[in-house]
C-alpha cells in the first residue's frame, strides 16, 4: 500500500471519529430519546470503525516499512562488482 493510500485511510478514520464524537456530544447536550439512541448505536459504530481503520492503516504502514527494510538489506548483501569491471565494459 502506498504512503498516499495510508494517509487517505488515516484521514478517513479521523473524519469517522469526528462524526462519532459529534453524535456523542449531541446526545450529551440534548439528552432526548433520538440523540441518545443514535449516539449509543451509530456513534459507537462509527467510533469503532474509525479506530479499526486507523489500526489497519498503521499496520499496513508498518508492513510497508518492514518490506522496504528487507529489500534494503537484500540489496546491501549483494556483492558489489569489482572496480575494474566498469573499465573493462567501457573498453
Amino acid at each position: 500500500m502506498s504512503d498516499s493510500r495510508i494517509e487517505q485511510r488515516v484521514r478517513r478514520a479521523c473524519l469517522l471519529a469526528l462524526a462519532a464524537l459529534g453524535l456523542i456530544v449531541w446526545s450529551m447536550l440534548q439528552p432526548k430519546p433520538l440523540p441518545v439512541v443514535v449516539a449509543m448505536s451509530m456513534g459507537q459504530l462509527l467510533g469503532t470503525l474509525s479506530l479499526a481503520l486507523f489500526a489497519y492503516a498503521v499496520i499496513a504502514d508498518l508492513r510497508e516499512r518492514l518490506a522496504r527494510g528487507r529489500s534494503g538489506l537484500l540489496d546491501a548483501s549483494k556483492p558489489e562488482p569489482p572496480p575494474g569491471d566498469e573499465g573493462s565494459k567501457q573498453g
Binding site: 495510508i6 479521523c14 471519529a17 450529551m28 479506530l51 486507523f54 498503521v58
Partner: protein, 215 residues
C-alpha cells in the same frame, strides 16, 4: 454543586473536545505520519473517544432516568407535568414529592426490578422509542399511550411491603389477592389512578373522551 451525572457529562465533553482538537489539527495541517504523529492520532482515535463514549454512555443512562427525559416525548408530557405538579394529588405526584423518587420518579416506579431489571427496562424503553417515532400520535383517533403490561403490585411493595405488622384492614383482607396480582394497588376504590386520565391532544377533542389507564 455538580451531581455525578453532570460531572460525567463534563468529563465526556472534555474528552470529546480534546479528541476533536487533535483530529482537526491533523486534518488541516496534514503532517507526515511520523511516530509522534501516530501517537497523537492514537490518542485522538483511541483513549479519548473511548473515554468520551464510555463516560457519555453512563451519563446518558443516568439522563434517561430523569423525568424530563420521559416527558420529552410529547405524548408523555401530561403525565410528567402532573408528576411534577406540587398541587396535584395523584399517586405519581405524591411520590414525586418524596426525595427518594425526586426527579427520577418515572423510572423508580416503572423500572423492572431483579437481576436484569435495568437492562430489561432499557429494552422496553427502546420499544417505546420505536412506537413514538413510527406512529402518528397526532392522528385523530389514535389511542393514548399505555404500558405494555399491567403495572405490577410488586413494584409498590418494594417500598410498601405487605408483611409488616399493623397493616390497614383492607390490606389484611386483600393481602393474598394483592400479592397474587389479582387486585391492583391502583384499582378504583383502592389507591386509584396513579396518573390523571389521558386527555385528547389539542385539535382532536371528542376523539376519545376517556382513555385506558395511563402508565
Amino acid at each position: 454543586m455538580l451531581d455525578l451525572s453532570h460531572s460525567m457529562t463534563i468529563v465526556a465533553l472534555a474528552a470529546a473536545a480534546g479528541a476533536a482538537v487533535l483530529l482537526v489539527w491533523y486534518l488541516l495541517s496534514r503532517p507526515a505520519l511520523t511516530r509522534r504523529v501516530k501517537l497523537v492520532l492514537f490518542a485522538a482515535l483511541g483513549p479519548l473517544p473511548i473515554t468520551a463514549a464510555l463516560v457519555g454512555n453512563v451519563a446518558n443512562f443516568e439522563a434517561t432516568k430523569e423525568r424530563k427525559f420521559c416527558g420529552s416525548c410529547h405524548v408523555m408530557t401530561p403525565y410528567a407535568a402532573d408528576a411534577a405538579d406540587p398541587k396535584s394529588e395523584t399517586l405519581a405526584s405524591i411520590h414525586s414529592k418524596n426525595p427518594y423518587f425526586g426527579q427520577q420518579s418515572c423510572y423508580v416506579c416503572h423500572a423492572d426490578y431483579g437481576m436484569f431489571g435495568t437492562v430489561m427496562t432499557k429494552v422496553g424503553g427502546m420499544g417505546h422509542v420505536w412506537h413514538y417515532y413510527t406512529e402518528d400520535w397526532d392522528r385523530p383517533g389514535h389511542p393514548p399511550p399505555v404500558i405494555h403490561e399491567p403495572f405490577k403490585n410488586n413494584t409498590c411493595m418494594q417500598c410498601h411491603p405487605q408483611d409488616r405488622p399493623r397493616q390497614p384492614l383492607e390490606h389484611q383482607v386483600h393481602g393474598r389477592a394483592v400479592k397474587g396480582e389479582q387486585v391492583a394497588c391502583t384499582a378504583a376504590g383502592c389507591h386509584g389512578r396513579p396518573h390523571p386520565p389521558a386527555r385528547p391532544a389539542p385539535g382532536r377533542e371528542g376523539a376519545r373522551a376517556e382513555a385506558p389507564v395511563a402508565p
